[in-house]
Amino acid sequence: MPYLLPLLVFFPLASAIFLFVTAGRLSARTVGWVATGAIGLSALCSITLACFFLFSAVPAPIHIILWEWMHTQAFSADIAFTLDPVSLVMILVVTIVGFLIHLYAIRYMEEEPGIARFFGSMTLFVASMLVLVLASDLFCLFIGWEGVGICSYLLIGFWYENPVNTAAARKAFYMTRIGDTAMLCGLLLLATTTGSLHIETLLATLHAGQIGPDVLTAATLFLLIGALAKSAQIPFQTWLPDAMAGPTPTSALIHAATMVTAGIYLIARLHELFTAAPLVMMLTSIIGALTLMMAACTALVQTDLKRILAWSTISQLGYMFLALGTGVWQAALFHLMTHAFFKALLFLTAGALIARLHHEQDIFRMGGLYRTMPGLTVAFLAGASALAGLPLVTSGFYSKEMILSSIWSAHFPLLPGSFPLAHILWGIALTGAFLTSLYIFRCIFIVFFNTHKTESTGSTPRLMAIPLACLSFLSLFGGVIEMPDTLAPIHLFTHFLSAPLPHAEEPVWLLLAGASAPIAGVVIAWVLWGRATPVMQEIPGQATIIRVAKEGWGVDALYAFLFVQPFRFLVWLTRHDVLDYLITGIGRMVRAISSFLEHTRTRFLTLSSGRTTLLLQSGDTLLARVQNGRVRWYAAWIVAGLCAALASGVVP
């Protein structure tokens, strides 16, 4: 069995390399099928592994060390894979959802000239994501972590002809890179403390009490920043809506189902580490709650269909962070899985819809689409009700209910017992659930019901319809593997993770509250937007609050003002090498000084030589006077000389 793990990564990787090497030579169909086939093989591998895991008597985690990455005295790391239930859930999600999205993309991207680049990046992304998920060493995980980042960059900027797209791609990469740097710092801190980044070794060291609380808090904080950036939580949330500039399958796969959940996976993976740092846990839950609330409010006023979904993704990720922060990582993982299903479905449906509407994304220019595209309506409805968490019939209900009920009884050791943080968080989450249902059904009523506004063409190809059907099925029924005790004692998921939730006595009204919030949302949405004469005829930009909320509460502008503009300005200011100028300046100065010195010297020499000549000339004339040719003068000189000699002899 272990050899399946490297194969799992190998298929997408090989196909990515193959697609990049043969770029431009294969037909679009071939390219698509090669990529899809590779992901399909991976999916088969992961299903095989899942079967093996489920049916083996004692499901032990599979470890495989491929090779030693490096080994020095102070530090060692391996390229190694581990398959345990957590990573198995993830590889199932990644490969199966990935396969369906690839299948969908074959038709969706058929007309694109850069299709090889698209599928190459997509398969490379799947490979990186699998490395991230399977890694048993945090260093190996980091390879995948950055790998998915670069693939996301390539795919957001896929239509590079438009500078807006490449700017969005760069923004996404820069923001996640900031988080990655923080995460790298966390890794370095852990590596220097324990000498290894192997997760099991880390946990063993943790249990042995060899990691001090300060170090632990700092390290988890760093890792948390990395996770927040990757999962677009406050304060990094601004990149994800812009990332919708990429092709829709990309948005579905990377920016909804998999990559953005890497942060959740990381924390779930290291939950023992995080549990030991209560401060960071509390921070995680608060950030999660704030994000889910903020993003839900923002989604409520968006007019761009893909942006609604993007903000909704941020909001749902906030739920998962909230769950992680309260220690129920199983619930986060469960919601991750169902979210992957229904959000991928929503994106793919939206993509198909937008493609048939000639790339119209504004929901206010759509309307009454259920008449022309009933299939898509059903699919979108399935995804939306799962997202809203309509009770009993959707997967989203079970996962969200699991989160909600566990938050209620969460315990924060750092706070005094009387402070009801858990209840406040529960209230926020419940309001969030209501808002979620409100905004997604607002979207449904506006887009699919109401009056007919745009012409749609063609029909959805079968190749795109099949994945939608599969995902609809999964969205609706993927959640029945785990149910609240109140309904039925089904705990397949947590048993599979071999981490059952502590059995808490939940009051029934908790469940009822969780179930009624989405229904209330649907009802109010119907009241506001669902009827033939809507109560609220929205005109975009009507109220200031709506305008601000639509722009993501001005965070983008704030960052632009605080960071981007100063950075640009400073860079522009220092675009020339100061030191270069300094040294050039010194050179110039030396040259000026030396030329000055030379000038002075020349003048001095000229002057002094002139004077000397003059002096010599006058001396000459004087001496020449003596040579007058008169014998008697000569004799007189002789005498004078004699006298002088005598005198010098006499006078001592």
Binding site: W67, E68, T72, Y153, E161, R170, Y174, L188, V571, L579
Partner: protein, 502 residues
């Protein structure tokens, strides 16, 4: 027969032959225009064979040094033609050859004016570089060190771009001036050794044991350090580099960035660390500070450049800051990180310079605003450029990250705040790399260079080989790390070692 002297001298001889062949063939123009190019390629192939022999021949020497060669040169002064090879030299030699091939195959064939002289100078520079990596006689080392400057100076000032003379003179002044400081240090060391032991020698191993007062050793070390710092380059004395890299012809840029900078790092490891270990430890905080300054300063300025070659040049400064930082962390991890970083930087930046040079050959501009998007017209060139840009931003799984990670790890052991500060250089690296990608590769195409030819499959194969090497350095660096550790001084090779002194 010991292959070491042949390794050093072969390029020089081959270069002479290439020059003479080209001169004798100037009469009949067209068919033999590339004769010097062909000879150069042959010389490199021969050199590779020699290096293969050196790598895989049975090493009889006791101790960690792999190979040794010595004949007296100026016996009166105790100067010998002495070459020694350890893992560090060997890995850098391989880097030199691996980079020379793409240079010759992709860049020097376009040289039409006086190709013979060009190839002669190219190979002469290579001789200097290879010799520098091998020489263990300090006088010989200095000789070869200076030997590589002169041909490079001529290469820049004769075949360079618009502002070549200034750049060449600046390059020459900086490196030559600092070289003189090194000469002073060498002489100081030799004279001290002579006073102490009465033995006049330039032998590296003998001089390593010279007893020195702390002040004197610091002084001598600084002499060496400044020479190497100029070459590396370290921030306040990097000024020659952007101009020289930008103005040099493509092949010379690759040699400069890929190899010549490495001689600085090599020198720091071999001479600063090994000859003056105590002084190096005392000097380490300053050196590390300079390294961080280099990382951040280079990356920052790289973000502001519009000239693509200048951008790459500043990114080199940033990368070499990691090398300096790693060398002076005083741990093996840091040293290995610095070596890996040198190798990876040689590959990635060398390839980037080749690509930038190819763009200039095709579009006759280096201004990123004028180049515009090339992906539509030159997809192969652009994808290669994308790969190496991503490598240079420190993508995990590629060689540069391995080096940076090890250096950061070693730095974190010394001082965690400093390491965290250094890590922000990675964010800047992302900014300048992707800025370049989105300006010249993935951007709306501005020009319509229908005449511009994309890389051929053969050329892509060469670049592909570099990519594979980078990936290997990134995901499986352990064998190279084991190989490339510099041998300790404690076991010098026997000076009359068997039949090696042929």
């Amino acid at each position: 027969m010991n292959p070491l002297p042949a390794l050093v001298l072969l390029p020089l001889l081959g270069g002479t032959v290439a020059w003479l062949a080209d001169r004798s063939n100037t009469a009949n123009q067209q068919p033999t225009r590339n004769i010097s190019w062909r000879i150069t390629l042959m010389v490199l192939t021969l050199e590779t064979v020699l290096l293969l022999i050196t790598t895989f021949r049975h090493h009889t020497l006791p101790g960690p040094w792999l190979d040794h060669f010595s004949i007296p040169w100026i016996p009166v002064m105790g100067i010998a033609f002495q070459l020694d090879m350890d893992g560090l030299s060997l890995s850098l030699l391989w880097l030199s050859l691996i980079l020379s091939f793409p240079c010759v195959l992709l860049a020097t064939r376009q040289i039409t004016t006086d190709a013979g002289a060009f190839h002669f100078l190219f190979l002469a520079t290579l001789t200097g570089i290879i010799g520098t990596f091998l020489a263990t006689d300090l006088f010989l080392f200095f000789f070869l060190w200076e030997l590589m400057l002169v041909p490079m100076f001529v290469l820049i000032s004769a075949w360079g771009h618009e502002d070549r003379h200034r750049a060449a003179i600046r390059f020459f002044l900086f490196t030559q001036g600092s070289g003189l400081l090194m000469l002073l240090s060498i002489l100081g060391l030799v004279i001290t050794h002579y006073r102490e032991t009465g033995l006049l020698t330039f032998n590296y191993f003998a001089l390593a044991n010279t007893p020195l007062s702390p002040f004197l050793s610091m002084l001598l070390m600084l002499g060496f350090f400044i020479a190497f710092a100029v070459k590396l380059p370290v921030v306040p004395v990097h000024v020659w580099l952007p101009a020289a890299h930008t103005q040099a012809p493509t092949a010379a840029s690759v040699l400069l960035a890929g190899l010549m900078l490495k001689t600085g790092g090599y020198g720091m490891i071999r001479f600063n660390l090994m000859l003056f270990p105590e002084a190096a430890i005392r000097f380490a905080p300053v050196a590390m500070g300079l390294g961080i300054a280099g990382i951040l300063y280079g990356a920052w300025l790289s973000c502001a450049q519009n000239d693509v070659k200048r951008l790459i040049a500043y990114s080199s400064i940033s990368h070499m800051g990691f090398v300096l930082l790693g060398i002076f962390t005083g741990s093996n991890t840091g040293l290995q990180g610095a070596i890996i970083q040198m190798l990876a930087h040689g590959l990635s930046t060398g390839a980037l310079f080749i690509i930038a040079g190819s763009i200039q050959d095709r579009l006759h501009t280096r201004d990123m605003a004028q180049i515009g998007g090339l992906w539509a017209s030159l997809p192969r060139l652009s994808s290669a450029g994308l790969f190496f840009a991503v490598a240079s931003l420190g993508m995990p799984g590629l060689g540069n990250f391995t080096g940076e990670f090890l250096v950061l790890l070693a730095t974190w052991h010394v001082n965690s705040i400093v390491a965290a500060l250094t890590a922000t250089g990675l964010v800047l690296a992302a900014i300048y790399s992707l800025r370049m990608v989105n300006r010249i590769f993935m951007a709306p195409s501005r020009t319509s260079p229908s005449h511009a030819k994309d890389f051929s499959a053969g050329q892509m194969t060469i670049l592909g080989a570099l990519m594979i090497l980078l990936v290997v350095l990134g995901v499986h660096p352990q064998p190279i790390m084991t190989l490339s550790m510099p041998s300790p001084l404690s076991a010098p090779p026997l000076s009359d070692g068997g039949g090696d002194t042929q």
